[in-house]
Amino acid sequence: MKRVYAREEYCVGCKLCEIYCIAAHSKYKNDLVKTFKKEANPPISRILVEESRPVSFALQCRHCEDAPCTKACIVGAMQKNPKTGVVTNEEERCVGCWTCVLVCPFGAITRDERGHKVASKCDLCSDNSQMPACVEHCPNRALVYSEYVSNNGTK
């Protein structure tokens, strides 16, 4: 399946991926201004920029082939789509027990406690577009969306 790969050599740590991730999941879908000006309680980013100057890179759910979070979920809310491979959390059923946080080897699942507690994670913008918002808006092509990326960044 296609995943988002980070090329830390190209990442400048601008965190635009976080901003666009928030906008992509806000009720004003992809509208930056409305998301940050109008939404009282904007979503939390599902992508995280890790940084220790000069190195930085963005990290989000790897949509593992044999995803531990789907096996550990105590309510069966975390599921991997057998066709697309995308791992998503059915937020209505999630009870916020954080067992997925316990088992995610990437630390890519965050706790969203704005309302009903739910585990929040990258969904590859699957209900949205051809291209995840973080990849689309990365100004230095430090994020690539592909089947696999080799050392030099090509498929």
């Binding site: 890179f57 082939e65 096996k71 309510v75 954080w98 067992t99």
Partner: protein, 424 residues
């Protein structure tokens, strides 16, 4: 080929899904003594507190059995296994013939001897029916005594307390959650619960449940007595091995399984709280009654039953739980005894904050994250992969600890691993 599964919780569901990854055709029969569609056992305290409906407790959707062509025998109890004739006998004397069998009968409450257990309004707390029975007698202002301050006892306490029940917990150990926390961590949790009105009697146990036909209280070994309208015995669970006991299947504390989750008898598998599988940290077989372990063992068993060779490299103790907004994640050895351990600690009791990481020979073997639990899974994966942390040990306790702190080569190899990440 006829697959028979005894059980209907995480391990059984894992097995159904494991079998169906490989074999979409051959029939599966699933037997459970509970008359319910598969539901999440850990949610029973949420159900008690009214935080989830019975519908929302389902572990898989209503179409799960149909979609996976599973014939269910719900509300029927398997009582014996004959591994020579490959038969499972039910309580109603019906006999099922299997080609591959999974025993996933879970755990059964451990009930220590005490006088008065036979009285009315004495309960255990592991199944949905326990909650249904308890719900009939609880009301605001009632008093409950819970025996055991483990995960089950504290979750029961939180549920009852949210319904306005006055709760006292009696615990033999010197602290709450003694299986997953050390004294410093347990102290923080106990104080947090005490602020919500839950009372504790530690270092003692119940001598007798008092009252007439109905429970009216308990007397403790420390001489105190406490009045109560109901008593919940939540000391722990033990493997529910009953169905295997008069068979040729080897049973130690649990049903002994190998890395394929096969028992001592070919074609017979076991998984979940009933099983005794490999513990990666202790490097020996242990009963690990936790849901993620149950699912993974069940799935592994299912794959092997369907002929696809699969190995579960092992589990270890790990829990994520919270009480009144105080989350905690712990895994592995949390209170090391003996030599050779190195312990990293950050403790701020006034903020209910505690981080403890236990290393042996520069390999993480356990941790406690209390209140700050984010990204705990990175530490869990260091345990699972037995990563040598000597190069970044001093960074492990950092709030922002993450992949940036790993040496570049290790980071890159881990980040590309999503493609092949197996059952943790």
């Amino acid at each position: 080929m006829h697959y028979v599964i005894i059980g209907n919780s995480a391990a059984a569901v894992g097995a159904v899904e494991g079998i169906r990854k490989v074999d979409k055709e051959n029939p599966i029969t699933l037997i459970s003594d509970e008359p319910y569609h598969t539901y999440s056992r850990p949610l029973i305290s949420y159900f008690l507190a009214g935080k989830v409906t019975e519908e929302k407790m389902l572990y898989r959707g209503q179409d799960f059995y149909q979609k996976n062509t599973v014939t269910t025998l719900l509300g029927q109890k398997a009582i014996a296994i004959d591994t020579d004739s490959k038969e499972v006998r039910l309580e109603n004397n019906e006999v099922l013939v299997y080609d591959k069998l999974l025993v996933a009968t879970g755990g059964t409450p451990f009930i220590p001897p005490m006088a008065g257990l036979e009285k009315k309004n004495v309960f255990t707390f592991i199944k949905k029916d326990d909650v249904k029975a308890i719900s009939k007698v609880v009301a605001t202002g009632k008093k409950a005594v819970i025996v055991g301050a483990g995960l089950i006892g504290l979750k029961a306490a939180e549920g009852l307390s949210s319904l306005g029940v006055d709760v006292t917990i009696v615990e033999l150990a010197n602290r709450v959650l003694s299986a997953i926390l050390d004294e410093d961590g347990a102290d923080i949790v106990r104080k947090h619960l005490e602020k919500r009105g839950i009372k504790f009697e530690l270092n003692t146990s119940v001598e007798a449940i008092t009252g007439g036909e109905e429970a009216q209280g308990v007397t403790l070994k420390n001489g105190k007595s406490i009045s109560a309208d109901l008593v919940i015995v939540a000391v722990g669970v033990r493997p529910n091995t009953e169905v295997a006991e008069n068979s040729k299947i080897a049973v130690n504390r649990g049903i002994v399984i190998d890395e394929k989750c096969q028992t001592s008898i070919q074609s017979v598998y076991a998984a979940g709280d009933v099983a005794e599988g490999y513990d990666l940290i202790f490097a020996q077989n242990r009963v690990l009654p936790i849901l993620p372990n149950a699912y993974c063992q069940g799935e592994t068993a299912g794959l092997n039953m369907a002929g696809s060779e699969s190995i579960f490299s092992g589990g270890f103790a790990m829990n994520s739980i919270g009480f009144y907004g105080l989350p905690m994640i712990t895994a592995g050895i949390v209170k090391p005894e003996g030599n050779g351990y190195e312990v990293l600690v950050e403790l701020v009791p006034e903020q209910s904050l505690y981080k403890k990481i236990i290393l042996k020979d520069n390999i993480v073997v356990g941790f406690i994250y209390l209140n700050k639990v984010d990204r705990a899974g990175i530490i869990t994966s260091l345990i699972r992969e037995k990563t040598n942390v000597v190069d970044f040990k001093e960074k492990l306790l950092k709030d922002s600890f993450g992949y940036i702190d790993l040496p570049q080569q290790l980071r890159k190899s881990k980040l590309l691993k999503g493609d092949s990440m197996s059952c943790w």
